[in-house]
């Protein structure tokens, strides 16, 4: 029995070893991402963006004359699995770099693995400030996405310009919701001392019935509300809030962070979307002030994904990969320490314009798109009006 089990073990181990030894010369990049379950709505397009980038760069000869091989793995939306996949990518597939993870639980968990294995890890989506907070920062973790400080403070900058003083907040009761709301409230109070936070609602993450929270908030009569309900949570919330006259009572003075203004959110609600509120998004396919690079990117993306109105998420994977390959080119090496050094302060020229990975906190100055939603007869879903990309540099801290 023991001999048998040992044989089974030994043969599968040998198989693993031989596979890892193949494919010399390519640069292997692990891409752990949510590819199944509800999170795949964002994870899948993010992977598409990274894949498109890789195909394009490989067609031009790759980096340092070597092709990139992207190895996507499904994290199933949980940190435990993300860790397992990341270690598997490093040990079995022998990837030299990792770009990926989606949730604020996955990012920090994989960061630990990156630190231990001295593998440069670029997080293209997780927003929690914890990921790059001084206590957790190490030479191998970088973030190309926005973070809760940038997002909360940008929302505060916008709300400060509204003629309102009584503010309410509603956010899911967990790390992301708490962090982004805190960033919003603190910054708003700092830049506009006349504001008063009249109400704060904390439904649990994944709440099915928002009615009590909506009614309680309406009772406090805020003039404007900051919402951090993201993705499908915002959809559920808005569908319940609309018939209760919530948006009307606020005069549409609601700003929804967590990509409430993304095409994914507006599309999934269609005509039910509370048109007139403010929201943010990582990308807009119809950016009026788009630089030629962005227009070109959207054309390529449409072709690559076969979508007439492409998703707003591929840009996250695309930019994450671009930071990596630009850094490799700058370092002229695949050595983790050299690439890490090259990434610090690196400015890339991406479809959204120029973007810099700050040396001090290894965080990109990635501002999102913000705007007021409106219906446009050209589309069966709400789009952002007067959409602007806000540069977060002045208030990133």
């Amino acid at each position: 029995m023991y001999r048998r089990s040992l044989l089974v073990g030994a043969s599968s181990l040998a198989l693993a070893g031989s596979r890892a030894a193949q494919a010399q010369g390519v640069i292997k990049v692990g891409f752990p991402m949510i590819l199944s379950g509800p999170g795949a709505l964002f994870g899948e397009p993010a992977m598409k963006g990274a894949q498109m980038f890789v195909e394009e760069i490989n067609a031009k000869g790759g980096v340092l004359g070597r092709k990139i091989e992207l190895i996507p793995r499904d994290t199933k939306g949980n940190a435990d699995e993300a860790v397992r996949q990341a270690r598997d990518l490093i040990l079995r597939d022998e990837v030299q770099f990792i770009v990926g993870t989606l949730t604020s639980a996955e990012g920090p968990a994989v960061s630990t693995i990156a630190k231990e294995n001295k593998i440069v890890f670029i997080a293209p989506i997780p927003k929690t400030d914890q990921l790059t907070a001084p206590a957790n920062l190490h030479p191998y973790v970088f973030r190309s996405s926005s973070n809760t400080t940038i997002e909360g403070r940008t929302a505060a900058e916008i709300v400060a310009k509204w003629p309102v003083t009584k503010i309410g907040t509603i956010a899911p009761d967990y790390a992301y919701g708490q962090d982004v709301t805190k960033a919003f409230v603190e910054h708003l109070k700092k830049i506009k001392s006349s504001v008063e936070i009249v109400d704060q609602q904390w439904p649990k993450l994944g709440e099915a019935d928002y009615t009590p929270f909506i009614n309680a908030q309406l009772g406090k009569k805020p003039e404007a509300v900051f919402s951090a309900l993201w993705g499908g949570h915002f959809v559920t919330f808005a569908k319940q809030a609309k018939p209760l006259g919530y948006f009307k009572a606020l005069n549409n003075n609601l700003i929804g962070v967590g990509e409430a203004g993304s095409i994914e959110s507006t599309k999934s609600m269609g005509a039910d979307y509370p048109v007139g509120i403010w929201g943010n998004t990582y990308d807009v396919f119809n950016w009026p002030d788009a630089p030629p690079a962005h227009k070109d990117y959207i054309t390529r993306l449409k072709k690559y994904t076969n979508q007439e109105h492409p998703s707003s998420w591929p840009i996250t994977g695309y930019i994450g990969m671009q930071f990596l390959t630009d850094a490799i080119a700058k370092a002229k090496s695949l050595d983790s320490d050299k690439v890490s050094a090259a990434l610090k302060g690196l400015t890339i020229d991406c479809p959204l314009g120029s973007m810099t990975m700050r040396a001090k906190d290894q965080q990109a100055n990635h501002g999102q798109f913000w705007g007021r939603t409106k219906m446009d007869p050209k589309y069966p879903f709400a789009i952002l009006e007067n959409v602007t990309r806000i540069d977060p540099e002045p208030f990133m801290g």
Partner: protein
């Protein structure tokens, strides 16, 4: 003619001890994973195979153990020597409380209640942000200080992952030896009597509930130890450690390997882990493969892998 039987277990242990010298981090990594999960599966089998109690919530004690060690080591800086046994003790404590209620029920009701308690544990881990880190879990659990191992001749050249593996292997071996001792003792026999016929056991004066509860606590203790090791190995603990899918996974390991044999669950843990590692790099449809394996197993080999091997062996010898 009496021949001394070959001490296979000792041979296996010595072989496993050599894995770090193969020089591959991957092999050491997989071996560590399997060793810990084998202990977890063996602890479940004390309930499943020996006492005849089907627990759907065994991951709760694994999770409690993992969080105990992680919180002690990361938040309070307690050394591993204390934090590791604490994992078993705290898990056993919870098993005592939960088990007290569970053993009052039988069969499917018992199974459902174990599941209910496990879900409560999961929910607490998920929500108690200040202590457990909430849904983000606790990344960055420190490695135990294994500097002393480098001082041992021959071990100095190994990496810290290899040192940890040797530690895990030694601790798991001791725990398994203890489990083996328990099931072979008169106490263990009593558990089997209860499994075979609880009414009859009651008639001959055995306090069935008390024995079941004690088995529940012992199983919880060893699951806690496995959890404590796994949290460090995984470099972080997460609420999913206590989720029902983890309970299902260990149940599958036990059944796959064969719950009728002491070593069955360990073999199950090994086979399932290796299969999972191999298959997930080819396909996203791991659950599909797992489902097929289970169906084949349940219809073809009721006794699991070890059961099938033993049966085959017997038939060959019979000829």
């Amino acid at each position: 003619m009496s021949r001394r039987p070959v001490p296979w277990v000792l041979v296996l242990f010595l072989v496993l001890l050599c894995i770090p010298w193969l020089g591959s981090r991957l092999y050491t990594f997989i071996a560590t994973d399997i060793a810990i999960l084998a202990l977890f599966a063996l602890s479940l089998n004390l309930l499943l195979g020996y006492t005849g109690l089907v627990s759907f919530g065994h991951a709760a004690y694994f999770g409690i153990g993992a969080y105990t060690t992680a919180i002690l080591m990361k938040t309070y800086g307690v050394p591993f020597v204390v934090a590791f046994p604490a994992a078993g003790i705290v898990a056993a404590g919870f098993a005592l409380v939960f088990g007290f209620f569970c053993v009052r029920l039988t069969k499917i009701y018992f199974a459902m209640l174990t599941l209910a308690f496990a879900q409560i544990v999961w929910a607490i881990c998920f929500k108690w942000n200040d202590v457990t880190g909430g849904e983000q879990g606790m990344p960055n659990v420190p490695y135990p200080d294994l500097g002393w191992m480098s001082a041992i001749p021959g071990l100095g050249s190994l990496r810290s992952g290899d040192h940890f593996y040797l530690l895990v292997l030694a601790l798991v071996a001791v725990a398994i030896a203890a489990l083996r001792r328990i099931v072979a003792s008169p106490y263990g026999r009593m558990l089997s009597v209860i499994r075979e016929n609880p009414e009859r056991a009651e008639f001959i004066g055995i306090n069935v509930r008390l024995y079941q509860l004690s088995a529940f606590v012992v199983a919880g203790f060893f699951a806690g130890l496995a959890g404590g090791l796994f949290g460090i190995f995984n470099r972080g603990v997460f609420p999913d450690f206590a989720y029902w899918t983890k309970s299902a996974e260990v149940l599958i390991m036990t059944i796959l390997g064969g719950m009728g044999h002491f070593w069955g669950p360990a073999v199950g843990a090994m086979v399932l882990t290796l299969l999972n590692q191999q298959i997930t790099s080819y396909t996203e449809y791991w659950p599909l493969i797992l489902g097929i394996i289970l169906i084949v197993l349940l219809f073809g080999f009721r006794g699991g892998i070890v059961g099938a091997v033993v049966a085959l062996n017997r038939r060959l010898r019979g000829r």
